[in-house]
Symmetry: C2
């Protein structure tokens, strides 16, 4: 398949990054990074998660962060939440956050238990309650995801059939409740994916659910995130989450080491060099990657912010 001519990248660095850092990051620094990201051409920025400050101390100031950013027209700022308290906190910012419902499938029961402390049955019941709640509040339910779609540190390899059955369940709910969901996000939450498994899982979904779009949420814990993104591009995938500088990781995923998401600027660099448009100013984004390092106070794994883009090199050579 030919590579796509353009892709859409959703920036999740602020949310992914700040939730995992051990030290407290001043609110104004978080705000500064989000505002800088708003000037790069990104159209979607996930700013915070509204979660319990006891579980995720780094997100205790989420409300403050949202109220202090400077929203730019044309950019969707989003947040995540996992329960009604979180949703209520998000709803206080209906004027500045794009608030939509998301159906969450889990391809690993073990990770569902670890992450949300729910059995599959409890999660199904919760999902139904959540649909009713969203509908009562007139919140459109437009998104769906499958977590741990490529493997799980707590249960091992994930069969493709488990991913397909999670999507089938999402599709059934979509039809039953007439939800405007036309795509699903596959999360490689614990970095088990390889280019080969990306192709296998994406291919199986495209075969079984040809009307469903697919987006990918990739982690780079084992160094394969960019290769996995390339494999996805070869399958025609056009939507990716990414985190500036390679910020991030899930605090409950039992990672031993650096656990960042795919680095936004490295992904953008690869796309641009292959003629794939992103609408993003790579040099401005690289500056954000450097700012992110200052904000968290330690080096981040992204490579292009170290090695430099080829755009500047070509310019310096007069080409």
């Amino acid at each position: 398949m030919a590579l796509p001519t353009s892709v859409v990248i959703s920036e999740e660095g602020p949310r992914e990054g700040f939730q995992i850092e051990k030290q407290m990051i001043p609110t104004e620094k978080k705000v500064a990074l989000i505002d800088a990201l708003s000037d790069t051409g990104l159209k979607s920025i996930q700013a915070v998660s509204f979660v319990s400050p006891n579980r995720v101390p780094g997100m205790a100031d989420a409300d403050d962060v949202v109220s202090r950013i400077t929203p730019r027209p044309g950019i969707e700022y989003s947040a995540i939440w996992f329960n009604e308290i979180g949703l209520q906190r998000a709803l206080a910012f209906r004027d500045r956050l794009t608030i939509v419902g998301k159906l969450r499938g889990y391809a690993s029961d073990a990770f569902l238990k670890k992450n949300l402390n729910r059995t599959p049955e409890e999660h199904s019941a919760y999902t139904l309650q959540e649909i009713h709640r969203y509908q009562r509040l007139a919140i459109p339910i437009t998104e769906a995801s499958v977590t741990a779609a490529f493997g799980c540190n707590f249960s091992g390899d994930v069969p493709v059939d488990k991913v397909l059955s999670e999507i089938a369940a999402i599709k059934a709910l979509t039809e039953e409740f007439e939800l405007p969901i036309d795509s699903v996000s596959l999360a490689d939450t614990m970095a088990w994916a390889t280019p080969a498994s990306i192709k296998a899982v994406v291919g199986a979904i495209q075969d079984r659910f040809p009307d469903f779009g697919i987006s990918l949420h990739l982690h780079d814990t084992r160094g394969l995130a960019v290769a996995n993104a390339y494999a996805a591009l070869e399958m025609g995938i056009r939507h990716f989450d990414a985190a500036v500088g390679g910020l991030g990781g899930c605090p409950f995923a039992a990672h031993q080491g650096a656990a960042g998401n795919i680095c936004t600027e490295d992904l953008v660099f690869m796309c641009h060099e292959m003629g794939i448009e992103t609408g993003i100013d790579l040099e401005a984004l690289i500056e954000c990657g450097r700012l992110a390092e200052q904000v968290v106070g330690h080096p981040l794994p992204g490579a292009v912010k170290q090695g430099g883009s080829l755009t500047t090199l070509r310019q310096s050579l007069g080409r």
Copy 2:
């Protein structure tokens, strides 16, 4: 094309890594790393370069390193050199080093000047002298390479035709002097390659020189090395250079930041997880990656040594 069922990886970490480190690394630490790499299943280890200690101080002890390693049967230990003095130093170790001649093409005249201070004409003349010298010394000339095959920090993008003409020149010499060269190594010396350009250049070479094998020497300066290796695997490439821990980089390549080679253990991890055999014990190699960090005294970019392999995770899960 189906992915290959096995690949051959040549370890170049000791040579690539020690030439670029600013501080002096004690000889015994270099020897310890090479000896540890000898226990991983690697069949080819490039130990040192015999270059001027004034130009590359980190290689001043190359002779000492070679004399103190413990060669294991079945492993080819190699070295590189760029002039007759270097060759003479290598020849002193004919009992422990595999000494073969290599024809070196440069896809960038600018980098040839920077790296070897030769014009293309001077380099052609030197190559002829070198062939005669090798033949006089009964050193088989079995290897060929094209440096800067995907782009150059000093001249910009490299046309595919320039790579093809370099290989045509190598092939002409191979025929004229009846050299047993049946493959060419393409070096992405300054990390300009993308998965798309890997496919374009490799495809063009496979079309034009179907009898020539191709190996790849990849750098990860801009984060694409593993993706580039995957693209090469998809083109049927079975030979890669790599550097444990992601050691390395070229001291004359004007890199701004971390400039390591593709990390051996990350490449091996990807191959194993996709069912591609390497003959290498990944866990032993990861230990070498950690040892390499101790040897150079700073973190190295490889991811799997941080994130952990899936083999150990599966074992801990009883799978």
